[in-house]
């Protein structure tokens, strides 16, 4: 079955090609069937490979891709526990979102194009997670960036959406520069970009080696861009301009977790570089808290979820930063379930509200959207970390590892976790409870989404509830199934890092505190938004300066604008005049004109007269004879 693994990325690619080539002639139903069917096919193959996998890594080589001098890059796939987990998440969640999109986008006139982009995205995402070397990963990495750009700006007639797409693209470029420099440095250091050779080569380095630190740091810059960490996170909230299934698939469940996957994949390099790991930890922790605070004051349903995604990605990086790679991947997985569900649920709400996204104008939707209400509740509980929902297990594992690392930092992470519970329930209560605050017109139109949209919601809800049981910790009698499954991948790292063990008592106490805090947060949210019926005003005049600061997202966008964008614009305006127009254009156009002029002269040589040609040839022969006799 492993031999068939090449089909996994090829199927979505085929889907993309089919839909893109025959977009005009295919009926919508068929487009939907092809798009979802190909991803389903990939999922089925991934599952069957998963069932047969015994924890060993298989390399499936397709062909020699680039071979030049010492550089040999095969186009090959690596099938091991880590890539299998990612494959299942990408194809599984991807399939559900494809099905959902068929309903959500059915009224869009460019439906076929949308579905083809989604398929193309899945193809590149699969390349990213399946490649057996950094170049194939980079191909996927860039490809998903491209699809993200195309899909954020899908409704390209709106200038703001286009700007959001451009912002995402440019911010990712900054990260990609780091990534590609890291890969170059890997090649220079190890003479190869294949995982197997790089990782076995890395085992010869001592902990804290400067080159390894540089490599991991550069790679992490790439992860910061792709996974929206401080300071490169501002593109993600803006990326919500894309259709909601895009937000769910790309900007919550899969693409933004590419950075996490990349670090988990390169775990041995990171383990050898404690400095970078600490850096990752602090960036992750900072992002988790920072984004969570912004989430408290957002009134756009998708923006809240976007900041929540940034914050949760921060949690994953905390896990990686403490060396708990399994915990990071575990949270990646559960987050994919519940965050995709939250986005799709939000999509269902937006669909019902005829495009309204402001929670100030919602309220009381539970009566009208019963299914969406229930699944949204389950997802909200899961993300808040209430047992036994999936988020509880994965977040708890991260917190436990962080506590063992440093109790002080644990305190900060706990704060972020509390904030999460608060803003999520704030969102939930404002949307579904209380009275309806929208227009009459909207009220008349309120309807539950069709089955094609609610069915994926229900499946994701089941996963959000039960996903945590994949890795039940020992204290609950669990056997840490995921950890054992992934252990071959992280084996080398675990040998090199001591596993700070905390006692069962402590662990239970930590859990109790976390759950208690979450409970308090929920209660606060309830008392404020349900009992007191408070509705955020969105009017800055009534806010204190602190509220204003957070409401405006700490003015980070404005600060970037003032510190980077405006000076750059100034420089580029000046250099347009002085460097571009005068220096470069002068030289380039001068030499181009000279060449063209030369072309005009030289063509006169082609006189058309045979006599001239013959004489020229004989003279050339004489010249060659003369030259060789003389020299």
């Amino acid at each position: 079955m492993t031999n068939l693994s090449w089909l996994i990325p090829v199927l979505p690619l085929l889907g993309f090609l089919l839909i893109a080539l025959f977009a005009k002639s295919l009926p919508k139903t068929l487009v939907g069937l092809i798009a979802s069917g190909t991803v389903l096919g990939s999922f089925i193959i991934a599952v069957s490979i998963f069932l047969q996998n015994d924890g060993t890594a298989h390399t499936v080589k397709l062909f020699d891709w680039i071979s030049s001098g010492k550089l040999h890059i095969p186009f090959a796939f690596l099938i091991d526990p880590l890539s299998l987990v990612m494959l299942l998440v990408v194809t599984g969640v991807g399939f559900l979102i494809h099905v959902y999109s068929v309903g959500y986008m059915s009224h869009d006139e460019r439906f076929a194009q949308f579905m083809s982009y989604l398929n193309l995205f899945v193809f590149f995402m699969l390349l990213l997670v399946m490649g057996n070397n950094y170049i194939v990963m980079f191909t996927g990495w860039e490809g998903v960036g491209l699809c993200s750009y195309l899909l954020i700006g899908f409704w390209f007639k709106n200038t703001d959406y286009n700007n959001a797409a451009k912002k995402a693209f440019i911010m990712n470029r900054i990260g990609d520069l780091g990534f590609i420099l890291g890969v170059l440095l890997i090649w220079v250091t190890f003479g190869s970009v294949n995982y197997s050779e790089v990782f076995s080569g890395a085992e010869g380095f001592t902990k804290g080696d400067k080159v390894i630190t540089a490599i991991t740091f550069l790679l992490f810059i790439g992860a910061m861009g792709k996974s929206a960490q401080i300071p490169l996170y501002t593109w993600l909230p803006d990326a919500m301009a894309g259709p909601t299934p895009v937000s769910a698939l790309i900007h919550a469940a899969t693409m933004v977790t590419a950075g996490v996957y990349m670090i988990a994949r390169s775990n041995i390099l990171y383990t050898l570089s404690p400095d970078t790991l600490n850096f990752v930890l602090f960036i992750g922790l900072g992002t988790a808290i920072f984004a969570a605070t912004i989430g408290l004051f957002q009134n756009d349903i998708k923006k809240v979820l976007a900041y929540s995604t940034v914050s949760q990605l921060g949690f994953m990086f905390i896990a990686l930063g403490t060396g708990a790679y399994t915990a990071g991947v575990f949270h990646l997985m559960t987050h994919a379930f519940f965050k995709a569900l939250l986005f799709l649920g939000a999509g269902s709400v937006i669909h019902a509200m005829s495009g309204e996204q402001d929670i100030k104008n919602m309220g009381g939707l539970r009566k009208h959207l019963p299914i969406t209400y229930i699944v949204f509740l389950l997802a909200t509980v899961a993300i808040s970390g209430i047992p036994p929902f999936s988020g509880f297990f994965s977040k708890d594992e991260i917190l436990a590892h962080l506590y063992a690392h440093s109790p002080v930092l644990w305190g900060f992470a706990l704060l972020a976790s509390m904030l999460t519970a608060f803003y999520m329930f704030r969102l939930f209560f404002l949307t579904f409870w209380g009275g309806f605050r929208g227009t009459k017109h909207q009220l008349e139109h309120l309807h539950e989404s069709p089955l094609v949209m609610t069915a994926p919601l229900m499946v994701l809800a089941v996963l959000s509830v039960l996903g945590g049981f994949l890795n039940v910790p020992e204290i609950f009698g669990g056997n840490l199934a995921l950890k054992n499954f992934l252990s071959p991948v992280f084996e080398a790292s675990e040998l090199r890092s001591f596993d700070p063990h905390i006692g069962h008592q402590t662990e239970i106490m930590l859990m109790a505190i976390a759950v208690g805090m979450a409970g308090i947060s929920i209660f606060l949210a309830y008392s404020r938004y349900v009992a007191n019926n408070e509705v955020p005003s969105g009017d800055e005049k009534e806010m204190s300066w602190l509220e204003k600061l957070v409401f405006n997202k700490y003015y980070v966008d404005e600060a970037y604008d003032a510190a980077i964008v405006k000076p750059l614009n100034w420089i580029s305006r000046k250099s347009e005049i002085f460097i571009e127009k005068q220096l470069i254009d002068g030289t380039v156009e001068g030499s181009a004109n000279f060449t063209l002029h030369l072309g005009g002269l030289l063509r006169q040589l082609q006189t058309g007269h045979i006599g001239f040609y013959l004489i020229a040839m004989v003279l050339a022969v004489v010249a060659i004879f003369g030259y060789t006799v003389l020299f």
């Binding site: 072309g599 045979i610 040839m617």
Partner: protein, 456 residues
């Protein structure tokens, strides 16, 4: 060798079709025969045969024969839509098949007499093909120029051959090579004179500056279909012959000829590209571009290392299939508009997006831009040349390819201008050709290793 026999038999069958009256099936028969010839050629891979010391079958022969046969097959796909002179169809087919047979002789010779025969079989066929449009003055002129200058150049090759024979007492190129290495320091003057004359004659055949004069005029004047044949199959054969001659016979005296070839290569690249800049006729642009490409390929000859054969093979295939698809679209456009001017392509992108796409792929490949075959073709040739310390010349070559982007993209830009054009129709065979060529160009650009690994 089997490919050569099949081609000759096929040519005779084509002539017989006139007598036995099966002209209707002739075209399909030839296509089948060419597929069969490709098949037997592939089957022979890995064998080594020497036929009475005259012809040699080795990997070099088979690889270049493969390129010739493949290009020939694709060229015959082009014939279906573009051959007007139905009355003489069997003669024309027979001559083109014999020309291909001659081309195979040129890549598999082991004796200078076979080289001479191969060159003449190809050349005489091409003189006829170039002047097939009896009432078109352009075709007349092209045929005449080609004939006169070709015969003149043949005279040089023969005189050179005679002098080499006088110096080494043999026509066998391997024995000449052995003689050269054994008597490296005491070679007689007539040997060097012979070398120069043969080099000059071969330089004419590959249209290297300053012996290129015939090429632009002949390419422009000949019927476009024949130009496509000359620019691809004839060029492939001439270059393979050139490389085999220099690697086998003259590698021992590399220092004697390398500077001359180096200057020729640089001049060919610059002159070909720069002169193409201000041409307004697409066919003539392709003619000058063909001259320029000869310059790049000379770098492979200069490299004189184990990468020479592979990189030249790759370059010729990439160049041939890219040119063929460009010529195919040019033929389709010219059939409609009645001329081969660049402006005839106006509005093609809007009316015929498929044809426009094909042209874009072909132009990218000819200009050497990834992800097309042309990029890796240039890449391999340049690395091979740099490996033999021709850094300066490689820089000149890179400059030349930058210049070439101007005229290759000009046609692309024109395609997107205006929309007055009526739709260009292409037959199914041409369509098949365009699809095969474009797919091959992109495939070779994505996975170049397979082909380059054939000749090490």
């Amino acid at each position: 060798m089997n490919a050569l026999i099949s081609l000759s038999v096929l040519g005779i069958v084509a002539m017989l079709s006139e007598i036995f009256n099966f002209k209707k099936f002739l075209y399909s028969l030839i296509l089948l025969g060419l597929v069969a010839a490709i098949g037997v050629n592939v089957m022979e891979w890995g064998q080594f045969q020497l036929w009475y010391g005259m012809m040699i079958v080795d990997e070099f022969t088979l690889a270049f024969s493969g390129v010739i046969l493949l290009t020939g097959f694709l060229w015959f796909l082009l014939v279906a839509d573009n051959h007007q002179d139905k009355a003489h169809i069997s003669d024309h087919f027979a001559i083109s098949l014999f020309a291909m047979a001659g081309a195979i002789v040129m890549v598999s010779y082991n004796n200078l007499s076979m080289l001479f025969l191969g060159i003449e079989i190809v050349s005489i066929s091409m003189y006829i093909m170039a002047s097939t449009q009896k009432n078109d003055l352009g075709s007349n002129e092209a045929g005449f120029k080609y004939f006169l200058m070709g015969a003149f150049a043949t005279g040089f090759i023969l005189f050179g051959t005679a002098l080499l024979y006088g110096a080494t007492a043999t026509f066998d190129i391997q024995k000449i090579g052995v003689f050269v290495t054994e008597h490296n320091s005491e070679l007689p003057a007539i040997f060097y004179a012979g070398l120069i004359l043969i080099m000059v004659g071969m330089a004419f055949k590959i249209s290297a500056v300053p012996f290129h004069w015939w090429a632009p005029d002949v390419y422009t004047g000949s019927p476009t279909l024949i130009t496509a044949f000359m620019a691809t199959i004839v060029k492939t054969a001439a270059f393979a012959a050139f490389l085999r001659l220099f690697i086998t016979c003259f590698s021992g005296v590399e220092l004697f000829w390398n500077q001359t070839i180096m200057i020729m290569a640089g001049a060919t690249i610059l002159l070909g590209n720069i002169t193409a800049l201000l041409q307004n006729d697409f066919k003539r642009i392709l003619a000058f571009s063909s001259v320029a490409h000869a310059g790049y390929m000379l770098l492979a000859v200069l490299a004189m290392n184990n990468q020479s054969g592979g990189s030249l093979l790759f370059y010729l295939l990439a160049y041939s299939i890219s040119s063929l698809s460009a010529f195919a679209v040019l033929l389709a456009v010219a059939n409609l508009k009645g001329n081969t001017n660049v402006q005839s392509f106006k509005g093609l992108a809007k009316k015929n997006p498929f044809l426009a796409f094909v042209v874009i792929v072909a132009m990218l490949s000819l200009a050497g831009i990834p992800p097309t075959a042309g990029f890796f073709a240039k890449y391999y040739i340049f690395t091979a040349a740099i490996a033999n310390n021709y850094v300066g010349l490689t820089l000149v070559a890179i400059t030349g390819s930058i210049v070439s982007i101007f005229y290759y993209f000009r046609i692309v830009i024109v395609m997107f201008e205006g929309d007055e054009s009526t739709e260009v129709t292409v037959g199914s065979n041409t369509k098949a050709l365009l699809v095969i060529c474009s797919v091959l160009v992109i495939l070779l650009g994505l996975m170049p290793d397979f082909l380059i690994g054939l000749l090490k």
